[in-house]
């Protein structure tokens, strides 16, 4: 009797859960596919100022002021994982650089194909060698011109997208 009661309870919970999930998933939002791309391309083409960046992305997690170059960097991180998402460089009130770091949740939208699709098909694979220290780094990039680069790691994954103005 007790066992049946537990089975019934369990089935009731499962049923209600599937109902709630169904309601939410009836209209899959296709807009979410390009959400980060829209932000990136918007910032890049409209040359956003600091005010608009904070208005759109909210207050940054950290702010770094580079005294040497007089640049200010607004750093945004994922609240749960603390992984970096954005670093937006500003000089005065104008945008000087954008760095974006894909993660588990959106890596599929930042593959090499997707980058070429959004940044134009003239992206070229390039290698930069850094031998300024005893360990020699071989950095692979997708150079899409106009200061737009994407760093590719040894596993062919995109580590970050960078725009410099």
């Amino acid at each position: 009797m007790k066992k049946n009661f537990y089975i019934l309870c369990f089935m009731f919970i499962i049923f209600s859960c599937s109902f709630v999930t169904k309601n939410k998933s009836e209209n899959p939002s296709i807009n979410n596919v390009d959400q980060e791309w829209k932000l990136l391309l918007g910032m890049q083409s409209e040359n956003w100022n600091k005010e608009k960046i904070i208005q759109t992305l909210g207050n940054p997690t950290e702010v770094f002021n580079d005294a040497k170059t007089k640049h200010e960097y607004l750093i945004y991180k994922d609240k749960s994982s603390n992984h970096q998402i954005w670093s937006i460089g500003i000089k005065g009130i104008q945008l000087s650089s954008i760095s974006f770091f894909p993660n588990f949740s959106n890596e599929e939208n930042f593959s090499m194909d997707q980058i070429s699709k959004h940044w134009g098909n003239n992206c070229i694979k390039k290698v930069e060698i850094d031998s300024s220290q005893p360990f020699v780094l071989k950095k692979n990039y997708l150079d899409c011109g106009l200061g737009r680069k994407a760093r590719i790691n040894n596993l062919g994954q995109i580590e970050g997208l960078f725009v410099e103005f």
Binding site: I13, S16, C17, V20, S25, P28, S29, I30, N32, V33, Q35, E36, E62, F64, D66, Y73, I75, K77, S81, N82, H83, Q84, S87, G89, S97, S99, F101, P102, N103, F104, S105, N106, E107, E108, N109, S111, D113, I129, D130, S131, Q133, P134, F135, V136, L137, K138, K139, K149, R151, N153, N154, L155, Q157, I158, E159, G160, F162, E164
Partner: protein, 236 residues
């Protein structure tokens, strides 16, 4: 109803996280929400919640040690003089590598080169992490072979981490990439002074100290020690 549901989901997640033990060569990934995307064939994949699971470490490849006697192709320090490692040197190197944590020995083929002197002053070893190359100079035997190998193999490991594994280290060790290849951290404590230059060097220094220095917890932040112990499979 939503409340009961939430409780049920939360409870199941907690118990999964508690009972999940990833096997050697794997790491734990907590539940996350994946954005919608299009596959290369144009198929639309809607957004979804990916439940907690174990992922295989990308650097988990059977170890193979290869000794070389000529300068690596494309080596930037062209004035360095390379030579053939002696039998006793090979034995010593093999023995030092055997004593290192298993995670550092799952890096696939590792090529060891021997040279007389580094182009950098007071430098006992160098590496080309992306090509799994380590160069050992004459002074390394006096400096400490195990220490130098731990440091250089940590460079190789770092370059073989996937995006998320690398980002996890940067998050724990508080590194930010402020613009392309320019890093910054608010940390003031580093196990070696050059650790403040970038996350790669910081990672290699910390791994080296964790393996060699018995008092490593005094020079490395606790969160970093815990993370590296887990990554390297070191039980303390």
């Amino acid at each position: 109803m939503k409340f009961i549901c939430l409780f049920f989901i939360l409870f199941s997640q907690i118990s999964y996280a508690e009972t999940t033990k990833c096997s050697s060569g794997q790491y734990f990934v907590n539940t996350f929400k994946r954005s919608a995307y299009y596959r290369t064939d144009g198929t639309f994949v809607k957004e979804a919640t990916v439940s907690a699971h174990c992922r295989t470490n990308h650097f988990f490849n059977p170890f193979k040690l290869v000794f070389k006697d000529k300068m690596p192709e494309g080596w930037p320090f062209q004035l360095e003089i390379f030579k053939t490692p002696s039998k006793s040197e090979k034995k010593e190197i093999e023995s030092a590598i055997r004593s290192l944590p298993k995670a550092l020995k799952n890096l696939g083929e590792l090529r060891i080169f021997r040279a007389v002197k580094s182009a950098f002053p007071d430098n006992h070893s160098s590496s080309g992490p992306d090509e799994s190359i380590i160069v050992l100079y004459d002074s390394v035997f006096k400096f400490g072979l195990k220490r130098a190998l731990a440091h250089e193999m940590a460079h190789v490991l770092y370059s073989h981490l996937d995006v998320n594994e690398k980002e996890e280290y940067r998050a724990i060790s508080k590194w930010n990439e402020i613009k392309k290849d320019v890093f910054n951290t608010p940390r003031t404590q580093f196990s070696e002074p050059d650790g403040k230059l970038n996350p790669e060097e910081d990672f290699a220094n910390n791994v080296e100290h964790l393996i060699i220095n018995k008092n490593s917890s005094k020079v490395i932040d606790k969160e970093i020690v815990d993370y590296l112990n887990l990554l390297l499979g070191i039980r303390k």
